[in-house]
Symmetry: C2
Subunit: 347 residues, 2 copies
Amino acid sequence: MIQPSNKALVPFVSVDNMMRLVHSIGIETMLRDLASYVEADFHRWESFDKTPRVASHSDVGVIELMPTSDGEAYGFKYVNGHPKNTAEGLQTVTAFGLLADVYTGYPVLLTEMTLLTALRTAATSAMVAKHLAPKGAKTMAMIGNGAQSEFQTLAMKAIIGLENVRLYDIDTEASRKCAHNLSGMGVHVTLCKSPEDAIEGAQILTTCTADKKNATILSDNMVGTGVHINAIGGDCPGKTELAAGILDRADVFVEFTEQTRIEGEIQQMPDDFPVTEIWEVIAGQKPGRVDEKQITLFDGVGFATEDFSALRYIRDQVKDGAFCDPLDMLADPDDPRDLFGMLQRAK
Amino acid sequence: MIQPSNKALVPFVSVDNMMRLVHSIGIETMLRDLASYVEADFHRWESFDKTPRVASHSDVGVIELMPTSDGEAYGFKYVNGHPKNTAEGLQTVTAFGLLADVYTGYPVLLTEMTLLTALRTAATSAMVAKHLAPKGAKTMAMIGNGAQSEFQTLAMKAIIGLENVRLYDIDTEASRKCAHNLSGMGVHVTLCKSPEDAIEGAQILTTCTADKKNATILSDNMVGTGVHINAIGGDCPGKTELAAGILDRADVFVEFTEQTRIEGEIQQMPDDFPVTEIWEVIAGQKPGRVDEKQITLFDGVGFATEDFSALRYIRDQVKDGAFCDPLDMLADPDDPRDLFGMLQRAK
């Protein structure tokens, strides 16, 4: 074997290494750090090359590529969404991502992103709640207790000081799993028998269910004033979680309007339904929450810049070579024009 | 470390393994096999989900994602193009690719594609020449003797029986490198002092130069009748190699019209300049070469289906686990909803 040069070796963070990295940093610290990176990139929103994700749909799911660049680094994520997978013992969502140097075009990081996406999604929700939720919010209703639910809860604890979570899922087994995982984590957990029960006394209502269809997880008459809704389960065309009446009463905040009109809760609304992009709030250009009785709604679908922030964060953590393996992914002959000679010499 | 399940492990073909695979199969056999896969996929052109590549341009280069799907498999290639890299000791083009199962969304192959792209580009050119070049063509002018030149020559030998190649490059060192690499490979090599010298007696004229600008490698009065031009160096906006007058006299064949009008030689021509898509010739819907005096021109820019064919071919070669390493890239908890529990248990 001919040893490839350093330029040809791409640092790779496996699932195992990602788990070790999370535990090395501490999950709450990592959620706070990720939220800072995501917030910093929203703050410089206008420096990004933005495009809606490139989706390939089939009858059973979707495979997407989510690229973006800030002119210095280029990142993309591969992610699938297959709701039927769970019943077959597979993940609904799996993902990996890559960061590259715009100046050379050479990849500089390849990483698993199934775990990282769960972390960045939760960090983003909590960072947005910091800007929009009622001051001193301590209780969250968590409706939908699947793979994202514990991450959402811990991020809200780490970033805005959440103390109580009220769990509801149509599958009580999912709620029990979530409660079990959260035991001893410093959040008081209540198992609830209905969505109505779950939202009792909650200042933050998080919906994260997985059906690939239009559903009404929250009906209009369930939602009182002075709450923040964190709606993150509706994230593709034909999949929503909220009654349209709630959207009419709420001030709606989105990541990237062009994408959210296709994929978010607001796909139920007319094309000119008013929304505020969350970067405008973060950059101080538009107000977030303006009064106690307001209903704020984060119509979160996940955007490429959040993955870019997460990739940037991981790159900064593994710079010294820890928690990654060198991957011989790029051919790098001594003379760049002599690719064939490199191949022949390997014989 | 918790051992990931098989579903979580993605077979990875490194550069080293790709080189070993090429030598194990034999480069000429592999070029012929790749040409068969590429041709078979062009033959079922209408079954592919096609989109122009997703490009991120900067002042110094471009990073592209090239996705496609046939409804059963999904493939994409990451590829950069940085002409200035050569002067800095880096490859102009590096690439890797991924194949996934549309039904589950799970990746099934990750592979280096710098070498594989060189092989599939040459295989495609030679497969197209089989359909378009004058019968019994034995001599090729190879103008531009960079990383692609030896692959082009060997593919033409393996697929249409080329016997002679006439090399020309503005850098005589590049020609010497190419001649050296081709010695003993069964093709008679002639070093030429000018493009005019190189095309003397050649039935196939291949242009593959790397400048990122409009250039005139072949002028109108240099090209006689009864030749096939294989123009593969012009592959991005603002980069062409042929005088427009040649295009007017030739019958032009392309991969995917929508993409070639942006990137190919025909970007010099009006939007309604007539072209034939090569799949139409392969599927027997349109004629290829119709008479001896005709000038046929393959305006090749590289298309996603060719990478898909190459990925499919590699997957079929490594099915038994040879020539690849298992990559722990996908999180795969026992209970798909229990991603957090998997993370906690890894502590």
